[in-house]
Amino acid sequence: MLKIDSLTVAYDDKVVLQNVSFDVQPGEILALIGPNGTGKSTLIRALSGVVPIASGQVSIDGQNLSELSANQRAKIMAVVPQARQLGGAFSVEQAVMMGRTPYLNWIGQESESDKAVVRLALEQTNLTGFADRQIAQLSGGEQQRVLLARALSQSTPVLLLDEPTNHLDLQHQTNLLSIVKRLAKEKELIVIVAMHDLNLVSFFADKVALLVNGELRGLGTPEKVMQKDAISAAYQTPVEIIQHPVTGAPIIFPQGILEQSE
C-alpha cells in the first residue's frame, strides 16, 4: 500500500501542496483531478523524489521513501511523463532499455534478463513491431506508449503518470489507458495518474482525488467525488452531470458553453 501522509510541498516560500493525505492499494488506479496549476504535477514529482518534500511522509508498505537513493526509489516507482515531442536519436528498444537503469551495472551493461523484461514491456504496449524504429519518427501516441513501456521495464510496484494522454487523439487516449488499466489489474500495480479529461477519469479510475489550490477537496469513487457542486466550485465553472446509460459513471459537461452561446 502506498501511503501519503500530510504531504506539504513548497517552492521557495509558496506552498503548492498542503497537508495532502491518501493511500492507494495494489491494483487500484487513483486519478488526480483539479484545475490547472493546482498541484497535480507537483504531487507526481514530489512522489517520484525530484521535488523536495517540506513536511509529511510518503511510504510504501511501511518503508519511508525519502530514505531511499534515486536508484532504490526507481525500483519502487516509475514515472510516465507528460506527452511531448521526443528527441534523441534512439531506437524504441534503446529508449525502453533505459528503464532498466536501476538494475544495470556501473558501465550500463544489460543482461539477458534485462532484455527479456524489455521484450515483455514492448509486447504489453503493442510496440514489438516498432523495436528498431527511431522514437523521433513515431507519432505522439506511439511515443507515449514508448514512455509507458520504459516505465514498465523499471519493474516497479508503483506507476505514476503525469497527464499521459494530453495531446493524444481519442483512439490513442483509449488505447493507452486501457493498457494501463489491464496491467494495473493483472500485475496488482499501484497507479496514480494526473488527468484533465474528467469523463475519461470517470471510466478509468477506481478512485479520484480532487485537488484545489494544493489542498485535497475530495477523495473517493468517481461517483462520490464528481458531484455537480464540488466540480463546479473546483473549476469555477457550472457543470451538469448525467449518468452513463450503461455503466452509470458520471458524465460531466460544462454549462457555460450553452449559456454563453444563447
Partner: protein
C-alpha cells in the same frame, strides 16, 4: 557493411591515417618500409635494413611520436566533445566553442610561465594547469548559460565565446608579460605546434588513457540524461554525481590535449556529429567511436597542414577551423529543425 561494422571501419580508417601520417614529410617513406622499420624495433625480430639509416631516425624520433601525439589529441578532443554535447544536450558543445579549450590554454600557459623545467617531470605538470583552467571555465560557462535547468544553444555559445575570449585575453597578457618565447606560445594557441619527441607523448598518455577510459564508460549515463535531468533521476540515475563525474573527466581529457597540442577547434564537433549521423546517437558507442574517429580526423587535418604550403607547414588548428566553421553553420541550420536532437 559500413553501417554494420562501425568499429572495424573506424579502425581501418585510423590505420590508414596513421600510416600516411608517418609516410608523409620532406621525404616520403613507403608504408612497407615503415612497417619493416617498426617491426625491427620489436625484440626478437631482426630485419636487415635496406633503407637509409636516416629513415629509422626520422620515423622513430620525429614522425612516430608526432603522429601518436596528434592521434591522442584528436581522440581526446572528439570524445570529450561528444561527452559535452551529451551533458549539455546541445549539438554545438565543442571544447573550443564553449571556451573550455581556451581556459585550458590559459591554464597551460600559466603553468609554463611558472618556469617548470621543460623535461618529462615538468611536462607532467602542464596538464594540471590546463585541467584547472578547463574546469573553472566549464563551470563558469555552464552556470552562465543555464536557464531554468536547460542549457539553450544561444546562451551556451554566447557564454562560451565570452568566457573563451576572456581566457584568451588573459593568456595574451601572460605571454606578453612572461619571457616565454612568444612565437612558440602563439602557435601553441593556434593549435600549431604539437610538441616534439617522446616526452610529451609519455607525459600525456596516462592522463589520456584514464580520461578516455572513464568517458567510454559514461555512455549509459549520457544516454539517460538525454531525457532531461528530472526523468533521468526518476529512472534511477544519481544525476548530480553523474554530471560532476562527466564534467571532470571531459575537462581532464580536453586539458591534456590542449596542454600538449594547443587550442584546436571543431574536431570535437565534426567527429561526434558525423558518427552520430552514420551510426546513431547511442553514447555507449558514440564515445568509443569518437576516440577512433577523432584520431583519424586530426591525423588527416595534420597531414593537410603539412602538405598545403610545403615545405613550410600550417598550424593544424587553421585547417580544422577552415573545415569546421562551415560544418558548424550547417549543424546550426540542422539544429533548428531538430533532426538529431
Amino acid at each position: 557493411m559500413i553501417r554494420q561494422r562501425p568499429f572495424l571501419v573506424n579502425i581501418i580508417i585510423l590505420l590508414i591515417a596513421f600510416t600516411f601520417s608517418i609516410a608523409l614529410g620532406a621525404v616520403f617513406i613507403h608504408p612497407s618500409t615503415i612497417l619493416r622499420i617498426l617491426a625491427d624495433q620489436i625484440p626478437g625480430i631482426n630485419i636487415t635494413p635496406d633503407w637509409p639509416n636516416s629513415f629509422s631516425a626520422i620515423i622513430l624520433a620525429v614522425r612516430l611520436p608526432r603522429t601518436v601525439l596528434v592521434l591522442l589529441t584528436g581522440a581526446a578532443l572528439a570524445s570529450s566533445g561528444a561527452a559535452y554535447q551529451g551533458l549539455f544536450r546541445n549539438p554545438l558543445a565543442d571544447p573550443y566553442l564553449i571556451g573550455v579549450a581556451s581556459g585550458a590554454g590559459l591554464g597551460a600557459i600559466f603553468a609554463m610561465s611558472l618556469r617548470w623545467p621543460m623535461n618529462l617531470f615538468g611536462f607532467y605538470f602542464i596538464p594540471v594547469g590546463a585541467f584547472i583552467g578547463a574546469i573553472l571555465t566549464v563551470v563558469l560557462v555552464y552556470s552562465l548559460a543555464r536557464v531554468n535547468g536547460l542549457v539553450p544553444l544561444t546562451t551556451l555559445i554566447l557564454a562560451g565565446v565570452a568566457v573563451g575570449a576572456f581566457a584568451s585575453a588573459l593568456t595574451s597578457f601572460l605571454m606578453l608579460r612572461s619571457d616565454l618565447q612568444l612565437h612558440r606560445a602563439i602557435s601553441f594557441l593556434l593549435g600549431g605546434s604539437p610538441m616534439t619527441g617522446w616526452d610529451p607523448v609519455i607525459a600525456a598518455l596516462p592522463y589520456m588513457v584514464i580520461g578516455m577510459g572513464l568517458l567510454s564508460v559514461s555512455g549509459h549515463a549520457l544516454n539517460i540524461l538525454q531525457f532531461g535531468e528530472e526523468e533521468a533521476k526518476q529512472m534511477g540515475l544519481n544525476v548530480g554525481r553523474a554530471k560532476i563525474f562527466i564534467i571532470i573527466v571531459a575537462s581532464l581529457t580536453t586539458a591534456v590535449a590542449v596542454a600538449f597540442s594547443g587550442v584546436i577547434g571543431f574536431i570535437g564537433l565534426i567527429v561526434p556529429h558525423t558518427i552520430r549521423i552514420i551510426w546513431g546517437a547511442d553514447y555507449r558507442r558514440l564515445i568509443s567511436l569518437s576516440i577512433l574517429g577523432g584520431g583519424s580526423a586530426l591525423l588527416f587535418a595534420d597531414m593537410l597542414a603539412r602538405i598545403l604550403i610545403a615545405p613550410s607547414s600550417l598550424p593544424v588548428g587553421i585547417v580544422t577551423a577552415l573545415a569546421g566553421a562551415p560544418f558548424f553553420l550547417w549543424i546550426l541550420r540542422q539544429a533548428k529543425r531538430e533532426v538529431f536532437w
